[in-house]
Structure formats: C-alpha cells, structure tokens
Amino acid sequence: MSDTKRPLSPHLQVYSWSLEMALSIFHRATGVALGGGALLITWWIIAIATGPDAYDQFRTVMSSITGKVFLFAFTFSLMLHMCNGIRHLFWDMGKGFDLGDSRRSSKMVLFFSVFLTALSWVIGYGMILEV
C-alpha cells in the first residue's frame, strides 16, 4: 500500500450511516446468523428422524420464550437476506445502481423483509388470528 499514489477512499467511520450501508453489513451479519439457522433446521430434521420424544423435546425448546426469540430472529434474517440477495442479483445484471433507485430498493428490501416475517408469524403462530 505504501507505493500507492492514487487517492484512497476515507475510512468507513468517516461516512455518516446510510440505509444502504446498514443493509450491506446486515446482509453479511444475517448470512452468518443463518449459519445458526442451518444448525436449527438440522436439529429439527434429526429430531424428526429420531422419533416422537426427540421431536417433542425440540418443540418444547422452540415453544419457550428464548426459542421463539431465536425463531423470530431466524425468520427475519432469512427474509432480509433473501430480499437483499434478490437486489444483489439485479445489481449483478447492472440494474439499479442510481442513487434514487438504490434508495428505493433499500426501502423495498426493508418493507418486504418485515412484511414476509410478519406474514410467516401470523400464519405460523396465529399472532393476530387465533387458529
């Protein structure tokens, strides 16, 4: 780096935070979180393969408050990573780089990940309609 004559971009902490920056780092953070989600899904599959007792044990843990917090975080991480990932696929095709477009798509990513998380929980746990 010492022989670089080109101007370097300022360090990350110089910029004021924007929605785009937050979503960028959250994409990576939720990706790591989904690694934990993969372990959760694997535990669920193992529990089903093992038998009714193991499955009940899994359900008991997931029905607790801690379990539900983890499941909720998992759902939101999955939706955010998926929605933002779809946006990345558009960027890969060279679409949506303009400042206005990228602000609009940031808001869409946020809206759809919240909406899909809420939808999953309303259907799954009947948080509004008691099934």
Partner: protein
C-alpha cells in the same frame, strides 16, 4: 516483478486460477435458494402446531424429501461460500485463516451430511 498488465493477469485467471468461479457459484446457489426458501417457509408455517405424525408423514413423501435435500445442500453450500469470503476479508494471519477455512469446510460438510442422512432415514 511481473511485466504482465493487470488485464493480462485477469485474463490468465490470476494467481487463484479460478477467475469468477466462486462468485458465479454464489449466484447460482442464490437463484436456486429463492424458490426453495419460499417453499420451505410456506410449508413449515403450516406445521407449527402439528404433532409428530403429521410432520413425519409430510417428510415421508418423495417430493418433500427431494426438495428438503435440495434446500439443505444448496443452503449449506451457499453458507460455505459466504463464510469463506468473510474469513478472506477479515482474517489476515495465515495460520488462523487456514484453520478457520478448514473448520468452516468440515463443519458445513458434517452438518450437510447429517441433515441429508436424516432426511433419507425418514423418507426411505
């Protein structure tokens, strides 16, 4: 010092010799994961209150078992590629880098194999 231009190096696929393969695989698995994730979540939200019989009968079906296998293997492959880049970006000591890359690879293969075996055990 190399006399080759940056463009020449890229055309020669650079020092890694695999060009854009990693990036492309990340994208291919991402595209596959969109419908698989939608299928998985929409299936699972209907089973939050289901008892054991319902869940095992669901996963007994060949179509469900194959889709579950695709979802788990594609997801874990995508996870492995993503974690690999995070290690490349943030870990600069050669020893920890090699150790963590191996740990990620072994863990992903182990988790994927365990999940896959369990799905087959249920369905077969």
């Amino acid at each position: 010092m190399s006399l080759r231009s940056p463009l020449g190096k890229v055309r020669g696929l650079g020092s890694a010799k695999n060009g854009t393969h990693h990036w492309w695989m990340q994208k291919v698995s991402a595209v596959a994961l969109v419908p698989l994730t939608i299928w998985f979540v929409s299936s699972i939200v209907q089973m939050t209150r289901a008892d054991y019989e319902v869940v095992i009968n669901w996963m007994n079906s060949p179509i469900v078992a194959v889709l579950m296998l695709l979802f788990v293997t594609t997801g874990i492959y995508h996870l492995k590629l993503g974690l690999q880049v995070i290690i490349e970006d943030y870990i600069h000591s050669e020893g920890s880098k090699v150790f963590l890359q191996m740990l990620v690879t072994f863990s992903c293969v182990a988790v994927g194999t365990t999940a896959g075996f369990s799905i087959l055990k249920i369905a077969l």
